[in-house]
Symmetry: C2
Subunit: 585 residues, 2 copies
Amino acid sequence: MAASDSQDGDSVVFIYDRRNSAAPEVKLSTTAIDCFAKFKDAVKQLLGVEDGEDFVIATTNRDEIKDDKTWDYVENGETLYILKDVKQELCAPAQERVDYLPHYDTIVKGGMYEYYASEGQNPLPYAFAELIDNSLAATALNDGSRQIELRLFLDDIAVSKNCIVVIDNGKGMTPRQLNNWAIYRLSKFTRRDKRSRGQDLEPSGANDSINLASTWAPRFMNSDISYFGVGGKQAVFFIGNATRMISKPRGSKDVHELSISKDEFERREKSNQSIYTGYIRNRQPGDSSHLSGEDELLAKLISEEPNRESFTAVVIQGISPQHVSYLKHNFNMWTRQLAHIYHFYLHGPEGHELKEEGEQKVESNPFNNINIQVTMQLRGNPNPKSIDLRKIEDDIETQYVRTAASRFEFKAYVDGSTAVEGIVRYHPFRYDKETYPVDAYAPRLDPVPEDDHGYAINDRPARGRRPIFEAFWNGRLIPYTLIEEFDWCSLPKKQKNIPAECYNRISGVLWTNDSFQVSTNKLTFLDLEMKLRDKGTNFVRMLNGHERRTQIEREFQSWLKECNEEHDKQILFSGNSGLRPRLDL
Amino acid sequence: MAASDSQDGDSVVFIYDRRNSAAPEVKLSTTAIDCFAKFKDAVKQLLGVEDGEDFVIATTNRDEIKDDKTWDYVENGETLYILKDVKQELCAPAQERVDYLPHYDTIVKGGMYEYYASEGQNPLPYAFAELIDNSLAATALNDGSRQIELRLFLDDIAVSKNCIVVIDNGKGMTPRQLNNWAIYRLSKFTRRDKRSRGQDLEPSGANDSINLASTWAPRFMNSDISYFGVGGKQAVFFIGNATRMISKPRGSKDVHELSISKDEFERREKSNQSIYTGYIRNRQPGDSSHLSGEDELLAKLISEEPNRESFTAVVIQGISPQHVSYLKHNFNMWTRQLAHIYHFYLHGPEGHELKEEGEQKVESNPFNNINIQVTMQLRGNPNPKSIDLRKIEDDIETQYVRTAASRFEFKAYVDGSTAVEGIVRYHPFRYDKETYPVDAYAPRLDPVPEDDHGYAINDRPARGRRPIFEAFWNGRLIPYTLIEEFDWCSLPKKQKNIPAECYNRISGVLWTNDSFQVSTNKLTFLDLEMKLRDKGTNFVRMLNGHERRTQIEREFQSWLKECNEEHDKQILFSGNSGLRPRLDL
Ligand SMILES: Nc1ncnc2c1ncn2[C@@H]1O[C@H](COP(=O)(O)OP(=O)(O)OP(=O)(O)O)[C@@H](O)[C@H]1O
Ligand SMILES: Nc1ncnc2c1ncn2[C@@H]1O[C@H](COP(=O)(O)OP(=O)(O)OP(=O)(O)O)[C@@H](O)[C@H]1O
Ligand SMILES: [Mg+2]
Ligand SMILES: [Mg+2]
């Protein structure tokens, strides 16, 4: 038998005598058995088999155990048959115990194939978003500022030095919460069911997020972007192959650290140790005595700890070279993507409007205490790139907000109750061009078709073929769910007195919460569009905080016509002064 | 201390004396300790604490253990501190053991949020596809026919009777293979590393699929549609909440059964039993003695077993009412979706061409031995709906194939080596309308815009805004990756002597294999489009099996012009006989 893997070295097999009976299983201790002969004797004794009686020992796959070689393959806890003939009928059923612990690739590969590219966008920012989601949740109850930092240290030569850290000054994790973080698929819902200590020894803990979700927030920005119990793990193992979680809850004297890595899982598997057992290191803030001399970055991070009242740091290593290369060469692009995802958390429900000189718009953003700072340090470059996401002004959402001349506010009621909030914005035609924004950072996938004179003949200018609506969930963007349009805001069969091109001058946003499901990777809604298109769904316009009773299609057409009349500005020719391209054709 | 959960009732705690030392942990047996007073005495004794010396016992979260109530919360294997003061500094670190077994929602919710709706399509067929993928792999080495059946028994009143079964006559599973099936994320790659019995007691087993992948097959139809080790589990737990796997490998006398269900996981959790331990029932074919009297469907299924040389049956129960309703009311739609996914496996690399009367095209389909039968039985209806997927003629792929007047074959080489095969088809204009097919079963999401006379003013008819290319992986459709176009087949800036509308008369297919990654839910490629658009990717036309050296853009334009000249048929007016709408404008 293979070396025992049970505690204290005990090993057993389960025997079914199926020679001609339906006898129940018998447990046979094999701790002291080291060869086939002894095993056969023990079986004979156990079953009261007489000398001279012939029998065969076989696995449940009818492989015969008949010598030391085959005996050596028998595993602890295995089920065996005693038979007359190895090919006989099974005269009665036999139950065999099996263990099917999920493979550790559940964690190590949990994120590897989850984030896909769409429209040419590298999905790496969406993995970062999982970690920022967690930091938003962790800082939701902060009194003062909510500091979230994404720090990258990239070295494309000494690859082992690559390191990405996400730090927040949120409520941190106790040892139990850190333990729970590591349990794959243990969601806030499931944790609630397993209340650990009745006398509230835990700080508010798991209940916080349930409360967050039920608190009203503008555009559902409840900071409760946690649902599945996998996001943080999927993200770290998409970005790299090892993570060190470091945390100190408020009021605690101790820092708690837990590491999970692909290498460690492999090591444990090889030495037959318990796969899902690890160690939390509890230590003083600032104590980096456990690090090797080479972990300078980590040592520096740890040295900041005494200045932090509470924090969580997610340290990711083993980052793939493709990611390092992408991050290094596309800093502007991916930071704009992040600014897009969290646009409304950074700027408030109205978005990043242009401030008049001297005008204070601070009051309109209830989230002014959220700060997301991105810093990228490259090998050999003493000057790190750094940006405060709130300062970004060229993300696509800011452009939509700032080129909008008018907004149409609405709500959708699905199944009579579940609400979705939304807006449509009008981006007018101004003199000689459309103001509908072009995303400077989106990869141009299609060349713009042009006519014989070299002019663009994209007969659907401005919005063109782009869907109208983006969708946000609990305040953050769900990037790959784009909804083309709804009946009430699409070009009607019989055209009213509204130029068709006005329908190309609109963009829109939808906001909702947990009432609608998103996919585990948070890249798509499962069925938002289908539910919004359901016959039972009711759309109403909101005007000055009140629901309009008029049918929304009429409201919308009336608004669109107004937009055309008031905001589109086209030059009137009073005489022929030459040729000019009509972009509307 | 809470009731022990270790074997044999032994329980321990790990103690760190941190009053003022860096002492290593000490293990203290608590098996015989049933109250705080005894615990405190045991600690004093263990650490040599003198009477009169004051100390505090605390958890690693600094919660004090000071009476029976707090003592009762201490868990087996927990780490505790002995301190002078509960708020003192930790004078040295302390490592605490934690277990972080993945929660069983890893399996039970593994599929729940994976399959999302896109373009209004219900994703249920894609969950069925995971099971058909497995059956294709299992039947790949069959000598004779490859029989795959999808049997639905739907009862929207007695919901517990709902049952979906996928049966194949493939190679089945031994007890070990059935055990491995249940191990989440244990992929064919990982199984290969864990060779179980050196003396080949196992039938070819895990190595089969590695071999399948390296065998040439037309359009990469290698039947090896297995990669992640999760598909079957995700599918069954998306469709329902319980599965019973029943299998008999070829040459075996016994049938092996293993059940996994949400209810069973919950039961084990409540009774503190090992979560990932189950039982394989080994029994005679046809033996249904273990079923309750109510399991008529299952009994009937089992009664078929003696007629089957080898088989696997996936029995799914606990199906959600929404799924039952959708399946019941949309039989034609979802069976066409399945016929689309497996179109080339069903019809061969040329697809479902129209057979001339009497013409045998059997030889052109190497997969004529694959049969996928779908049967749906509804409560109270004695006549089940049944269809052989090969007989379907109105799936969209068949329509693309049959309206194609000409094909342009090509290959793409990514990174100089990895090949993608592809075609573009031309669907000509015939007399008064486009032949580009309309998917009768695709939900119409956008109303067709019309001009003032009620005529469609979709200025991009035929293909319209649809992307050109679908994409297949190892021969099966990856439904949500649609590639708009490539430079060489898109409308050029300066139009050549090819009418622009010809570019709307093309559809295309791309085929590839494991060289390109798909997402875990097999709904999208991770980066196929990005890689195909890479500057280093080389496209070449294939003509009569040879690569053309001419630049592909020229080859394509030359082909397209030919198609226009030879296949587009428009009526020439020799006199004015009235008005006729020009659909090309
Ligand atoms: N920065 C953090 N600060 C405090 N607690 C955290 C932090 N990050 C993670 N956690 C804890 O770890 C748990 C697991 O995080 P993870 O992102 O893996 O799953 P989740 O957030 O619960 O759900 P989702 O899959 O939707 O992200 C969280 O629920 C939270 O309790
Ligand atoms: N019908 C079947 N017949 C025989 N073996 C099967 C069958 N279905 C599943 N298996 C076995 O169970 C294993 C697990 O199946 P599952 O679909 O969960 O993962 P996979 O097919 O390995 O990978 P993927 O996630 O890509 O589907 C398979 O690899 C195969 O060995
Ligand atoms: Mg999370
Ligand atoms: Mg599979």
